[in-house]
């Protein structure tokens, strides 16, 4: 194999190319005295930085994220009209929205659209999010945006669920009551993703034993917490309206300590999720 070009020619080529390589790497070794500044790509000097070290010392310095950067989602809930378009377009179903029909006037969004629904729940599971940005593109009021925040790691996966709704559970319950009273027909909350299996609490009792202890241990000082949870208890007969007592109500909470206890809520698995 080596004797392809003759012994001496090979030897000469070998020495030459090895020397070329060594010279090249030595040049880089010398260049290491200089280093690139972490300039953004839109800076005209981006490709005119000196040769040398290129590493960015990340926590200390970072390349600025462009304005188009698609990272953490943010919802400006005041502008949300609860149209569910984002939840429907999401390929991974990481957005969960519950709305309640409003009887009173909710005003308009900042771009003049009429708001008709209370947003009892607007959760985005950023752990599931695939950052495709489709939800921000379909949003009619442009309230759902992807921000430039890209470093938001958490120790607990549950903290990756972001709650954007601005109603407390009590408020949500009241709105729901009002809505039911106002309308002759019952307005069950629309729950995207879980719509096929309404009684999730009764459908999967197997998960309840895991759900309850974790929820209890999380907020130790909360007196009211256990009261909302009996629907999850093992073997408990689901209430007459498991949807509201077991599912919807605790989920509509927004404050963070209570947020933890509703995380283990079983999410019924359905492969075909978006039946139109």
């Amino acid at each position: 194999m080596m004797a392809q070009r003759g012994y001496w020619a090979n030897l000469r080529t070998g020495l030459r190319t090895v020397w070329t390589g060594l010279r090249l790497t030595f040049r880089h070794l010398k260049q290491a005295r200089r280093r690139r500044a972490p300039v953004p790509i839109w800076d005209p000097s981006y490709f005119r930085q000196p040769d040398g070290q290129v590493t960015i010392r990340y926590p200390h310095e970072a390349i600025p994220v462009p304005d188009t950067g698609r990272y953490r989602l943010h919802n400006h809930i005041d502008d949300c009209i609860g149209c569910l378009k984002c939840a429907r377009v999401c390929p991974v179903d990481c957005i969960t929205i519950e709305t309640i029909k409003a009887v009173e006037d909710l005003g308009t969004t900042s771009n003049g659209q009429k708001k008709r629904l209370w947003i009892a729940r607007f959760d985005i599971d950023m752990a599931k999010c695939c950052y495709c940005g489709l939800c921000t593109m379909v949003c009619p009021t442009e309230c759902l945006t992807m921000t430039k925040v890209h470093d938001f790691s958490e120790f607990d996966r549950d903290n990756m669920v972001y709650h954007f709704a601005n109603l407390t559970p009590e408020e949500a319950e009241e709105k729901r009551r009002l809505a039911e009273a106002a309308a002759a027909r019952p307005t069950a909350p629309v729950r995207e993703g879980a719509s096929e299996k309404p009684a999730a609490g009764s459908g999967k009792p197997a998960f309840a034993p895991r759900a309850v202890p974790r929820g209890q241990s999380a907020p130790p000082g909360q007196a009211g917490a256990p009261a909302t949870r009996p629907a999850f208890a093992p073997g408990a007969v689901p209430g007459p309206e498991p949807e509201q007592s077991g599912e919807a109500e605790p989920k509509a909470e927004t404050s963070s300590p209570q947020a933890e206890e509703r995380k283990p809520t079983p999410r019924p698995f359905v492969f075909k999720r978006k039946e139109s």
Partner: protein, 369 residues
């Protein structure tokens, strides 16, 4: 320092003295390894346009200390199917083989732990013994990758002993001694007998000049080729790229030390870096004037005289050794890895013939002189 140490040895007896020196050398190797690992990381980083360790300590200097602490604190896991005695003893065999080599290394005038008259033989013998440890490690791990690494390393070391040995032989023939200290002494000021520039009798005698010109590679120019051969072979002996076939990361994961962790792995590391320095030092002793200064006496400016002494000796020798280590690193981060058969080709068909030629030249030179 030399005389102080002699006094010390005479006072406390040879055993204690040997232990002290051993401890000194061992702690030196450990400290040097810490520095060398750091240097390797920095060199590789700079070659690759990176910054290297920076966060632990000032300029990342404590990174290797942190790593060694991590290794020391790690759980000592023995694979269930391993051949335990062999597996346990292997890293220590490997390290000892390297460590023993330092015993005969002349660090300065009168500064040698064991002034053996067969020092060259001793050092090459023990360098070859290292492979026994690697084989134990590979076999004892009971891991196929480790076994591959061990077998490859045995094949490699056996091949590379030959050109390396021949290159050493070409020096020994000219020096007429196997004593490392004497070989060094011949290469500087105070060398007995005339020593002509480039070994040619019509050129001036440089034995009084000292410095660079009395080194073997300049006194006998063909030894430059011998030195190159020795250097390449020594790269292979310590399993460094482009001859890191036994631990080829992309093929054999980590070769013979795949299964090792914690303190045992640290010993392999010590052995590797200790070995790098050792082969560099041997090269310096045999070819580059050992602990002699490269600065010549120029008339009244007696640079060679001024820069000779025990401290200077350690300084110059280590400088030469570190330079060799740097070249090892430089080559490692430049060149791809050879395949086993290509390594054999390089050894048997390129290096060995040239080494034989150098021995022949040396033999003629020695008899003619």
């Amino acid at each position: 320092m030399g005389s102080g140490m002699e006094f010390f040895i005479a006072l406390l007896g040879p055993v204690l003295g040997v232990m002290f020196v051993a401890l000194l050398v061992a702690s030196f190797i450990a400290l040097y390894t810490l520095a060398a690992v750091y240097a390797e990381r920095k060199v590789s980083a700079f070659i690759q346009d990176r910054v290297g360790p920076l966060e632990t300590g000032p300029r990342g200097l404590l990174q290797t200390v942190a790593d060694i602490l991590k290794l020391l604190l790690k759980e000592d896991i023995v694979p269930r199917m391993a051949d335990k005695p062999l597996w346990v003893v292997a890293p220590f065999v490997v390290f000892s083989a390297v460590f023993v080599g330092y015993a005969v290394m002349p660090f300065g005038p009168e500064l040698v732990a064991a002034n053996l008259n067969v020092g060259v033989l001793f050092i090459t013998a023990f360098a070859a013994f290292e492979v026994a440890g690697l084989l134990l490690a590979g076999w004892g791990s009971n891991n196929k990758y480790a076994l591959y690494g061990a077998v490859r390393s045995v094949a490699q070391v056996i091949s590379y002993e030959i050109p390396a040995g021949l290159a050493v032989l070409s020096v020994v023939l000219l020096a007429g001694t196997l004593n490392l200290q004497e070989i060094v002494l011949q290469q500087g000021i105070g060398a007995s007998g005339p020593r002509h520039l480039f070994g040619l009798p019509f050129l001036p005698d440089v034995s009084a000049l000292g410095g660079l010109f009395t080194w073997n590679v300049l006194a006998y120019p063909h030894l430059l080729i011998a030195f190159a051969i020795y250097f390449i072979a020594s790269l292979a002996e310590v399993n460094r790229a482009p001859f890191d076939i036994p631990e080829a990361e992309s093929e054999l994961v980590a070769g013979y030390h795949t299964e090792y962790g914690g303190i045992k792995f640290a010993f392999f590391y010590l052995a590797e870096y200790g070995g790098m320095l050792l082969v560099g030092l041997i090269g310096a002793v045999l070819f580059l004037g050992g602990w002699h200064s490269p600065l010549p006496n120029l008339g009244p400016v007696r640079l060679a005289d001024w820069t000779t002494g025990p401290i200077w000796g350690i300084f110059w020798l280590l400088l030469k050794g570190f330079a060799a280590v740097f070249v090892h690193m430089w080559a490692r981060w430049t060149l791809p890895r050879l395949r086993v058969d290509q390594l054999m080709y390089l050894c048997w068909k390129v290096l060995t013939p040239f080494a034989v030629a150098m021995v022949v030249v040396s033999a003629f030179w020695a008899s003619w002189r």
